[in-house]
């Protein structure tokens, strides 16, 4: 019963969201144009995704790898019981 009510609720929310006449999202294209026009001259990369995550947005990569490192340390210490390694 609880599952059926929840499913009906979720379907209702979905229909509600879909039926709204959405105005297309007005995304800014300045950044896109700048990256596409300049990434080769700026970074020497052929792949613009690599150019973005290793040169333009380097802090993003730094904190992402830091998060992976912290999660590995967390896993090591969460999974340690009563003296076994």
């Amino acid at each position: 019963m609880r599952r059926i009510v929840t499913a009906a609720f979720i379907i209702g929310i979905f229909l509600l969201i879909i039926s709204v006449n959405v105005i297309p999202l007005e995304t800014s294209t300045d950044l896109f144009h700048y990256y596409i026009n300049n990434f080769k001259a700026d970074t020497g990369a052929e792949n613009s995704v690599t150019a973005i995550y290793l040169n333009y947005r380097l802090f993003d990569t730094f904190f992402e790898t830091l998060l992976l490192l912290v999660s590995v340390i967390g896993i090591i210490y969460f999974s340690r019981h009563e003296g076994d390694y």
């Binding site: 080769k40 001259a41 970074t43 020497g44 990369a45 052929e46 792949n47 995704v49 690599t50 150019a51 995550y53 290793l54 040169n55 380097l58 990569t61 730094f62 790898t65 830091l66 992976l68 490192l69 999660s71 590995v72 340390i73 896993i75 090591i76 999974s79 076994d84 390694y85």
Partner: protein, 128 residues
């Protein structure tokens, strides 16, 4: 884990040099083709999984792997900040692409060490 299938062990022994080559290819071409450090590192971590599944080794030293990972993270910070924030204007395009190669290699080794540690911790859980 109990016995291992001989067929599986032989096949994986043939396949896993190819997996290493594929992972290195993805890392070293990260700035030219789709791919990069994270993706190649994840593929390289698969080698350790195969090693566990075929030979049942448990003597991989997770402490050393974790220490390598921390050291490489510090190297990564040092290289990135030094080159991008202080020397970015003076470098030529070739030198910049070598920088991308270096960063991809460091990230790949770091990610593969991290995923290996995660996998072996889960395996140690299973054996208890």
């Amino acid at each position: 884990m109990g016995k291992h299938s001989e067929l599986f062990a032989q096949t994986m022994g043939l396949v896993y040099p190819i997996i290493i080559l594929y992972g290195l290819y993805i890392i070293y071409n990260g700035h030219l083709t789709p791919g990069g450090g994270f993706q190649g590192g994840a593929i390289l971590a698969g080698v350790f999984t195969i090693q566990y599944l075929t030979t049942d080794t448990k003597n991989v030293s997770l402490d050393i792997l974790n220490r390598i990972e921390k050291t490489i993270y510090l190297l990564l910070l040092l290289t990135g900040i030094l080159i991008v924030f202080y020397m970015n204007q003076e470098l030529t395009l070739i030198q910049k692409s070598y920088y991308l190669l270096l960063m991809n290699t460091l990230i790949g080794v770091k990610v593969s060490c991290g995923l290996t540690v995660i996998f072996y911790r889960f395996v140690l859980f299973e054996s208890r």
